[in-house]
């Protein structure tokens, strides 16, 4: 079996990819995808910790991931609705241009 470190490193790398996308891309949808990837990286951590944990019978990791998936779905729905609303208003999804609140 792969040691736990393998999963943790994979998860950390996935998190980094998501973070990089969220921080460097212009398009709001890609930013949202990056955030989703970060959430998924966290989920992978939960599952890995549950599997390698002391008592997997407690199901804590699995429960956390199930709730995280539900929250992520809600987040995606609201986030994309926001992006569509912003697009209607400004005719752009570029996060660099939507800066009207900037002082």
């Amino acid at each position: 079996m792969t040691p736990l470190a393998g999963y943790l490193l994979l998860s950390a790398f996935l998190f980094a990819i998501g973070l990089a996308g969220a921080l460097t891309r212009r398009n709001a949808i890609i930013v949202l995808i990056g955030i989703e990837l970060m959430l998924n990286a966290a989920n992978l951590n939960f599952i890995a910790f549950w599997r390698y944990g002391a008592n997997p019978e407690a199901l804590t990791g699995i429960m956390f991931v199930i709730f995280a998936i539900a929250v992520a779905a809600a987040e995606a729905a609201v986030g994309l609705a926001l992006i569509i609303a912003i697009y209607r208003h400004y005719k752009t999804t570029n996060v660099d241009e939507v800066n009207i609140l900037k002082g």
Partner: protein, 164 residues
């Protein structure tokens, strides 16, 4: 490091990197769907059958579709002419590298990361259902409320404003 894990890891990393770097938004969305599928495979490989299938159902079946719809509704189907990276990409990348370095350092130096797993864990759907209805019933109700709120909220936000 076993072969299935290596394949899954390469799949996830390649698909996620593609999703973050491709110019065309639809390509990004489809690549991220592959990444979600790879994560589902990872969950299945870790004996979390229910979560893996739920991951496919929710992420590939719903979230990816939602992203694709959003891309098309915001006319993002064609690759943009100008740069796809934001003006502050350098700082973003720097922060990312710092975060990854920190995480990787923590993982490598953690006592937990050398741990070997227990033997095959069998989690039946019934166990999960029982847990959801007993120990985790409050979070379940809260999630139900949250999803309803998100549903209504998303509809209201995305609804076309009435022209007066």
């Amino acid at each position: 490091m076993t072969l299935p894990f290596a394949i899954i890891a390469v799949l996830i990393v390649a698909a996620a990197s593609a999703a973050m770097t491709l110019r065309n938004l639809v390509h990004s969305a489809l690549a991220v769907a592959v990444a979600f599928g790879g994560l589902a495979l990872a969950y299945l490989y870790l004996d979390a059958q229910f979560v893996g299938l739920a991951q496919i159902l929710v992420y590939v079946g719903a979230v990816a579709i939602l992203i694709v719809f959003a891309v098309l509704l915001t006319r993002g189907g064609e690759a943009p002419e100008k740069s796809i990276f934001s003006a502050t990409w350098f700082w973003g990348l720097l922060i990312t590298v710092a975060v990854f370095a920190t995480l990787a350092w923590c993982v490598m130096h953690s006592f937990a990361s050398k741990r070997e797993p227990a033997d095959k864990v069998e989690v039946t759907v019934k166990q999960i259902g029982d847990a959801l209805m007993t120990k985790f019933v409050l979070p379940l109700e809260v999630i139900g409320l949250l999803l309803t709120a998100a549903l209504i909220g998303a509809v209201i936000i995305a609804m076309r404003e009435e022209k007066k």
